[in-house]
Symmetry: C2
Subunit: 257 residues, 2 copies
């Protein structure tokens, strides 16, 4: 059983990548919609929430936990591993950073929440594997509410994207990490603005790829796979969004932490 | 001692109004920054959080609780009064609705979070006191993140305001209730877009006015007033914003609920 968690619905982009790569695998996803978002909260609070989230998916049988949230990956991974030493954790930061190093010659752009950008985690991890690379970071705090409003192709979203992305385009970054699990939904708009030559790295895809390489047995196809989606706050609206993102009907369970 | 609470920092606009009207009064304010925002969460979750918030300020001596949050006022007031029958609660909805009825002849506009607008509480309360009035509501979900980003006079904020407010302007509303405690910070921009003739009602001012009329003894000036600001998640950034909004240095206490 694979466990995944996120601050809310954003991590469903990782579930989407998982379902594409291994449609018959067992998994349990927890979205902490009752306390979302994490991106502008402090490290101490994000650590506490991440541990409670991990506990939930582990209690429900997870043998591996994918931290499908950049903010929690950036701020809470050491504490998570300390709290549950017997369980492997894979965050979204390292796989995306390694992918960037593999495909970039000179300069990488990173976009994320304020908390992720302030943590400078992408900078550190990219420099560990590619010390020669220039890393340029940009916080995009309005992207999450725009995605949650479903304004994926709105004129206002384009203007806001132009504001955030212009410095990265002017700096001629060759690749751009989408350092927040909400952002893959804005990928077409971001790719159009940045231009075809810029390689946009979707952390949802790369984290699933890395997890499958390291723990292939957990991704085995089951005849009747157990696939659970749970939220700490459930509503018809969150079910509707989840169903739309995953392209299948979703009725989330209510999780009590 | 006056208690006030909000989902986060927005309710500090009510503290600002309180400090203007009664600078030497005792008060305790709680901002639930660890779980902010409430505006897109369900009634059940908002009720649970509101009861925990009220408990905190009552434990710290509050004899009256001002619910300085439109979402909690719209969704949780009956449950709050039931949970603490000995304490009077004043929400921001009724004072603003009554003010609108007092100054409007035909039509009132209301802007707020999705949760507040979906609750239709303003519609109900305005029609109770002014059954002849036409009420036009508009959810403005991006205003809270824009305020929290400090983009109070940004070109993008103007464009987003135009999107939300155009239907209200075209309908020629005579007054407009700012149905979210974040919105007073956008009042100049909103007033400019709506035009001078539209009376913009700031719920922060009217709730303080009503509370002072009903419980004048609690607003008495003290020689050394106890004035506490507490957040469930504290950071240098939230202290900086609070200090800016209140025009005095603020170091918030960390509240454990």
């Amino acid at each position: 059983m694979i466990g995944l968690f996120d601050s809310g619905i954003g991590g469903l982009t990782v579930v989407r990548a998982l379902l594409k790569a291994a449609p018959q695998a067992d998994f349990v996803y927890l979205g902490d919609t009752a306390r979302t978002p994490y991106g502008n909260k402090t490290q101490e609070t994000v650590e506490r929430y991440a541990i409670e989230d991990a506990q939930y998916v582990i209690k429900h049988g997870a043998q591996l936990v994918i931290v499908a949230c950049n903010t929690a990956s950036a701020l809470a991974l050491p504490k998570l591993q300390e709290a549950f030493p017997q369980i492997p954790f894979i965050g979204v930061v390292k796989p995306a950073a390694k992918e960037a190093v593999a495909i970039t010659k000179r300069s990488v752009g990173v976009i994320g929440t304020r908390a992720t950008v302030n943590s400078e985690i992408y900078d550190k991890v990219i420099h560990k594997y590619g010390p020669h690379l220039k890393v340029m970071q940009q916080a995009c705090p309005l992207f999450v509410p725009l995605v949650e409003e479903g304004m994926l192709n709105d004129q206002l979203t384009k203007l806001i994207a132009r504001r955030y992305l212009t410095p990265l385009r002017q700096a001629n970054v060759e690749s751009l990490i989408l350092g927040c699990t909400h952002y893959p939904l804005l990928k077409p708009l971001i790719q159009r603005f940045m231009g075809k030559k810029v390689k946009v790295i979707d952390s949802a895809n790369v984290v699933v790829k890395q997890a499958m390489e390291e723990y292939p047995q957990l991704f085995a196809a089951k005849d009747s796979p157990k696939q659970t989606i749970a939220f700490t706050d459930t509503s018809p609206l969150s079910d509707r969004i989840a169903s739309k993102w995953l392209g299948r009907p979703v009725t989330a369970e209510r999780a009590e932490l």
